[in-house]
Symmetry: C2
Subunit: 394 residues, 2 copies
Amino acid sequence: MSSGFNQNPHKLLVIPGPIEVSNDVLLANASASVSHVSADFVKIFQQTLMLLLRLLYTSPEANSQAFVVSGSGTLGWDMVATNLIETGERALVLNNGYFGDSFKDCLEIYGAKVDTIQAELGHTVTPEQLEQHLKQTNGSAYKLITITHCDTSTGVLANVQGLAEIIKRVAPKTLVILDSVCSVASEEIKFDDWGLDVVLSASQKGLGTPPGLCIIVASNRAIKTFESRRSPAGSYYASWKNWLPIMRAYQNGSPAYFATPPTNLITALHQSLSIILKTPSLSLEERFERHKQASHQVKEAVKRLGLKQLPVNEKSSANGMTAVYLPEGIKPGDVVGKMLTKDLVIAGGLHKACKDRYIRIGHMGLTAVDHQRGDIALIVKGLTETFSELRASL
Amino acid sequence: MSSGFNQNPHKLLVIPGPIEVSNDVLLANASASVSHVSADFVKIFQQTLMLLLRLLYTSPEANSQAFVVSGSGTLGWDMVATNLIETGERALVLNNGYFGDSFKDCLEIYGAKVDTIQAELGHTVTPEQLEQHLKQTNGSAYKLITITHCDTSTGVLANVQGLAEIIKRVAPKTLVILDSVCSVASEEIKFDDWGLDVVLSASQKGLGTPPGLCIIVASNRAIKTFESRRSPAGSYYASWKNWLPIMRAYQNGSPAYFATPPTNLITALHQSLSIILKTPSLSLEERFERHKQASHQVKEAVKRLGLKQLPVNEKSSANGMTAVYLPEGIKPGDVVGKMLTKDLVIAGGLHKACKDRYIRIGHMGLTAVDHQRGDIALIVKGLTETFSELRASL
């Protein structure tokens, strides 16, 4: 592991993804080229798929199937929409923000009739709201219901377990789809226990790997739903008809070809998953706990500065990021620019309702769990100085 | 450049992609994380898009537009099919092998009515065959015609210039689509002069970058065709409605967001394109010439061994790879295994008609152009020894 490789000195990247990546993972991303059908790579890919299942507390014994495909997290929406919905079937989007809007657009492209439960800005759709909606409408007619775990535009965190329980009870045939691009490896996700059918994610957030991998874990029920389609999937690249045999082959330790897999990125993800799941001194549970602690420290600092967060309810706010309203007279660009002079890279707003009135800070992966780095202290110090300077010049 | 970074010792990868990647490009792939909207990354992405245009002898002045998207080369088929075809429109696939079959499948998923001109195994569709076909059928009714430049399954190389000339003359309104996954940067492609409308490619072959990037260059005419669609694109992730504003923004030097771009891979591609286009001692023309020389050396060695190549006509064989029939009694696995013991990684067959009777060798990028490495001599020596040993044990 101690290869002597050190990444170039750089500003600390604390946006809600991409995140800081460790030297070991970057070094894996710089591995010498290998054949995608070589025994060495097959082993790496197989272990990667297995580790992803383990990260979500599921397993091949539960007939869960992981997919790792070249693409951004967005491709995961296409995978759900094109494989699990047929034209005219109904879907329900629990919309907590920007990413709910886009998932709806994607589902509609593939022919779904989409209803939405719209949370107010800063709120999440609650299990109670969902239950009421499902009982008032013909809830069991939904082919699938999508939940955005952490909406990266606002930093709200959905109560996935509570929502999934309602679905199991009121609409038990409906598939439970979790968009967890901004939560895998930074928030606990219990795939089997909660009865999830698809978790979709990407490499560049809690997984601590450079961007470029679309990551899916599908339940046996989701796979069976796909296999019993009456019509072919409407996409070629996102079709499980093409990918399922490939992922099954690699998961079973054999190569197969549909499209060239992104060998270096998969090797990097393998390295990151190995660190996440096989570091004796830091269990997965402790990893989640450290994300909570880091989040608490940033959120407390924000409160001390007299600033309000976008999530209205502290219990419904993400542990991997913090979204903060700015005081009158201070713009996102002012804060981002000032932080940049302190070698800290944070993000501006994204949600259309308040884009120009807030900032976003990421604290996932290394930044949250590696205390020796001191990233959280740097963030808190940077924010404190920045707001003091900006307020002084108001 | 001389960073001191050296990739791990490894077997020489001489399959028809992924290929050997230079230390500088791998080091770029291990760059520290950057924000996808940072000024530094915007500059890298802008230059990458510009360099891709230059590599194909086109330019922003010709209103050509480059796309670099997280995905494998296969995603390029979806981009063509979902953006440039509407349901019921006709397409013609010039089918030289495996990849023609798959492109047809992809076009049909998006509603195209696809005709095929099928070349016999080892042959390419000739301009004469195409002209005859277009005149006998209502050729000008084709919305687009696809050409596989080098079919990686057989190593045949299409006469793109000749084919495009026929299309311009007989069906001038038809879009000319070139699948050049296995030819960009190893074969000359004159986008403007030849009148091409889409070139689609991937990062892991002549471009000498790890796999994971879908690369497209589209003509102004292709973009206008997309913009005048009557129906929405059938894919979400592959839709230019989502990507065109993003690529235009980055090409003009501003960030924009649809999905997180694969920042490290783009930085690696930028490094590789900079080497390809800005090395004073090796012009682009000289680069193509070196691929021809390397190819000639491998093909002559194969002849000396008394082996027959898949491409029937030497003029219609690729310069970036060689596909070779095996003598009776020798199987692809025997050759691949024996070469492996000599630290050389070559590939087995892929074309369904003769999958178990041939091998494939790649000689693109570094392996072809960097004479100091001596890769070609290693390939020739390895093949010579391997066949001598295998024949002795027959």
